[in-house]
């Protein structure tokens, strides 16, 4: 192992030193490996990965001697290459798990070749005629004028409702204040409790409406609903019976007599 560094030619050592000075300029270990591989001056597909591993390890050694702070990924790569080197040098151990040294080396060679290929095509791409540099777009573009025509619609009903709304605005009051035309179920119940005692026979619940609530449609409706709800409440309490002969027929109520058993 120790001979590795001495095996290097002077030129290589000088190159390695130049690299160290420029280590900041590399985009990670793969970039550096690609740079080192160029010194082999062969097709990347025929590159000696073992030789490359040696070059890289030598580089890391020199960096250490120069007390150069190398980023962690450079050291990880060094460890990995050392491992790869041992796999390449030692005869394959059949008990050993995982890929062979050759497979690992082939993949690293593939990665280098692929990175180099990407750099080549990137250069070719950037060398193409470019818009705004070699060819040009319309200098006075005419925008498509988007003419948005808005038509408004309203129908007669809208119009009449709007008018009705304005003219009856004074008749509106906030909902909660509208108590004077609302007969609550509590009120109805109170009233019914007093009256039910006298209802021995079936009586239309309409006759239970409080006086003065029968004519105004709104009041009448509210009172009817409350009275009906109160009636149901009385039935539930077992104080009354309720019946209706059919849908929309009058609803009759009577006091419940003592239970038969």
């Amino acid at each position: 192992m120790a001979e590795d560094t001495t095996e290097q030619t002077v030129a290589e050592r000088l190159a390695a030193e130049a690299l160290i000075v420029d280590v900041e300029g590399f985009e990670g270990p793969l970039d550096l490996l690609l740079m080192l591989s160029r010194t082999q001056k062969v097709d990347l597909r025929k590159i000696s990965i073992l030789h490359l591993a040696n070059q890289y390890l030598a580089f890391v050694e020199r960096a250490k001697k120069l007390r150069l702070e190398l980023a962690a990924d450079y050291l990880v790569m060094a460890a990995w290459l050392a491992f790869l080197k041992s796999r390449l040098l030692l005869p394959p151990d059949p008990s050993e798990e995982g890929p062979s040294g050759e497979e690992l080396a082939a993949h690293l060679a593939f990665q280098l070749e692929r990175l180099q290929a990407m750099r080549d095509v990137a250069a070719r791409l950037m060398a193409r005629d470019q818009k705004g540099r070699d060819f040009f777009v319309r200098g006075i573009p005419e925008d498509v004028a988007r003419i948005k025509r808005v038509t408004y619609t309203a129908n007669l009903l809208d119009l009449m409702q709007a008018y009705a709304r304005i003219r009856t605005k004074d008749e509106f009051r906030p909902f909660v204040m509208d108590r004077d035309s609302v007969f609550t179920m509590e009120q109805a119940l109170e009233r019914m409790r007093g009256l039910i005692g006298f209802a021995g026979t079936w009586t239309d619940i309409v006759s239970y409406l409080p006086p003065g609530w029968e004519n105004d449609p709104a009041k009448r409706r509210s009172a009817t609903a409350a009275t009906f709800a109160a009636s149901l409440e009385l039935v539930k309490e077992g104080k009354a019976e309720i019946r209706q002969s059919g849908t929309f027929e009058p609803i009759h109520l009577r006091k419940r007599e003592g239970r038969d058993g």
Partner: protein, 213 residues
């Protein structure tokens, strides 16, 4: 003038006229401003005759979708005037008239001729300038006679266009309050009672607004 320095290859022949025409074509296409003959020549190789090239180019674009046109003493490529319609895209959007507008319109229809102050009094809120403008623009209302009262305020009346749109013979055909009431349109009850009138009214969003003001 300074640009001329770049093309001091006066030793060489000027490019053939066809090539000069191409150059003029490219420059006219790409420049952001109409460009004069002098500026053209300043950018072309030495010895070019931009004016002559322009004659050819102009002829070439005769009757085409774009033309070479003179703008002042400069030149540009422009869309052929008859194709201007391709440069616009019309979209029609139908919107429901705003509540303020429909209310204002209703008041004008029922009370015409009516002044702005009267509209505001009836609505209980001020009428924005925009609302009146919109109705005027739609030609649903127009100015009536001025009222012979102090300040001589203008009045508004509805138009024939309005009557046509709403299918009315005259504004007097509009149902009165009594009829509105019997039709269930005047029920002064909170939402549930609007049911009858609301049936044909898809725009249920309106209903909640009733109580907003």
């Amino acid at each position: 003038m300074a640009d001329a320095t770049q093309s001091n290859d006066s030793l060489f022949e000027a490019p053939p006229m066809a090539e000069q025409e191409r150059m003029v074509e490219a420059i006219l296409f790409a420049t952001a401003e109409p460009i004069s003959v002098r500026e053209l020549e300043a950018r072309m190789p030495h010895g070019c005759d931009a004016a002559e090239a322009l004659v050819y180019l102009r002829k070439r674009y005769e009757g085409r979708g774009v033309n070479v046109v003179k703008v002042g003493d400069a030149w540009a490529i422009r869309t052929a005037p008859d194709l201007g319609f391709l440069m616009q895209k019309e979209t029609v959007e139908t919107r429901k008239l705003s509540r303020a507008a429909i209310e204002t319109l209703a008041i004008i229809a029922y009370h015409q001729p009516v002044t702005r102050a009267e509209i505001e009094e009836i609505r209980g809120v001020s009428v924005s300038r925009g609302t009146i403008d919109q109705l005027l623009e739609m030609e649903w209302i127009r100015f009536g006679r001025r009222r012979m009262t102090p300040g001589r305020p203008v009045t508004f009346v509805v138009t024939q266009e309005f009557l046509d749109h709403f299918g009315l013979e005259s504004a007097r055909d509009l149902p009165g309050l009594k009829e509105l009431r019997s039709a269930g349109l005047l029920e002064s009850r909170p939402p549930p009672s609007l049911g009858a009138a609301g049936e044909e009214d898809e725009d249920d969003g309106d209903q909640s607004e009733l109580f907003d003001d």
